[in-house]
Structures are given as C-alpha cells and as structure tokens.
C-alpha cells in the first residue's frame, strides 16, 4: 500500500514539476506577451496544484496528519489565476495593443479597456471639489 502511495505521490510531484517548468519555460520561450501569458496561467497553476496535493497526501499517509491547507491554497490559486490573467491581459492591451488590431465586438460597442465612455458615463458624479 505504502509503495503504491509513494509511487503515486512521486508521480504527482514529477507531473507538478514538469508543468511548473513548462509554465516558466513558456514565459521565456514564447515570443509575444499575450502568448507568454498562457503558459504560467495554466501550467504553473496546475504544477503547483500537483505539488500541493502531493504534499497534502504525503502528510496524510506518512505523518498521519491531514493537512487541508494545501487544498485551500490550491483552490485559492485556481480562483485567482483567471483574475490575474485578466488583469495582466488588460494591462497589456492598455499599454501595447491598438484597438484597431482587435476584432470588433460585433455589437457596436468598444472593448472596455479602450472605451472612455465607461468612465465618463458610469460615475455618479460625486466630485469632492470644495476645500474644507
């Protein structure tokens, strides 16, 4: 039993390591920023996830303590990775991409990052202008 668990854990660790290095390697290798964004967002996340799960299982099987923290961290990383990617993509759009290089939205409105209307229309105009 222990043997199987050990192999399973070892496999998890190796898979995690491979994905991690793929993620970071992609960050080096891929030519454009938007392409590079794909690699760590996915690969590194799952790489770390594997490592975390293996850690959890390791403690469960070999130390006898069930440590759920790794699971929490994993979930947290999965929850936040898309947001991170979204923000970095927006930053890249904002800094380095021209709106004309993007496909049209098809419904006549601009992409939010490029639409000054969003800001000028959305606020409720509480402007704190009067000096106390």
């Amino acid at each position: 039993m222990d043997q199987i668990v050990e192999y399973f854990l070892a496999a998890l660790l190796v898979i995690g390591g491979v994905f991690a290095i793929v993620g970071s390697f992609g960050l080096l290798k891929l030519p454009t920023t938007m392409q590079r964004l794909h690699a760590p967002t996915k690969a590194t996340t799952i790489g770390v996830g594997s490592a975390l799960i293996s850690s959890m299982l390791y403690f469960w099987f070999f130390e006898g303590t069930l440590s759920w923290h790794e699971l929490m961290i994993t979930l947290f990383l999965f929850l936040t990775a898309p947001i991170t990617a979204n923000f970095i993509a927006k930053a890249q759009l904002h800094l380095a991409v021209k709106p004309e290089d993007l496909p049209p939205s098809g419904v006549g409105t601009a992409w939010a990052t490029f639409d000054p209307e969003v800001e000028s229309v959305s606020p409720t105009l509480i402007r704190d202008r009067a000096p106390d």
Partner: protein
C-alpha cells in the same frame, strides 16, 4: 526512496522555473511581462516552500504559503491596476 528522487526532481523543476522567472523579470519588453514573471515567481516560491515542508516533514510554513498566494494575487492586481488606472483604489 523514490519519493526523495521525485522530490529532488520537483525542487529542480520549481527552482529552474524560478530562475527563468527571474530572467524574465529583468529582460522583458514591458511592465506586464514583469508583473507576470513576478506573479509566477511567487507561485513557484510558494511551491518550493511546500516542497520544503514535505522534505522536512513540517507543516509550519503552510500559513506562509497561503499568505504568499494571497499577497501575490493582491500585489499583481495592484500593479496592473496601477498600469491601467493610476489610482488602485479609486
């Protein structure tokens, strides 16, 4: 036994990953790349901490790992928000 080799392999992978991130932080065409590299770096470091915990059989740094994940996310969003809007809590 095999687990130890696997652990070494994992250390190597995440370590190399860290090194690559480091390179990308310094050599990047723009800020988003650097932010991305830093974010990945945090995740790799977090993994290394967890692996180190496995190696030493100690879970004492798991809260640190959790916090790294949290703060890494918050700081990445903050950097991006700064690039996008200037004011991060407008």
């Amino acid at each position: 036994m095999i687990l130890n080799y696997a652990l070494d392999f994992a250390f190597l992978c995440f370590g190399l990953g860290l090194a690559m991130n480091l390179y990308r932080v310094f050599r990047a065409p723009g800020v988003p790349d650097r932010i991305l590299a830093l974010d990945t770096m945090v995740i790799n470091v977090l993994a290394l901490i967890v692996l180190y915990g496995v190696r030493t059989g100690s879970g004492v740094n798991f809260e640190a790992a959790l916090l790294f994940a949290m703060t890494g996310f918050v700081s990445t969003v903050a950097y991006c928000k700064f690039v996008l809007r200037g004011d991060i809590i407008e």
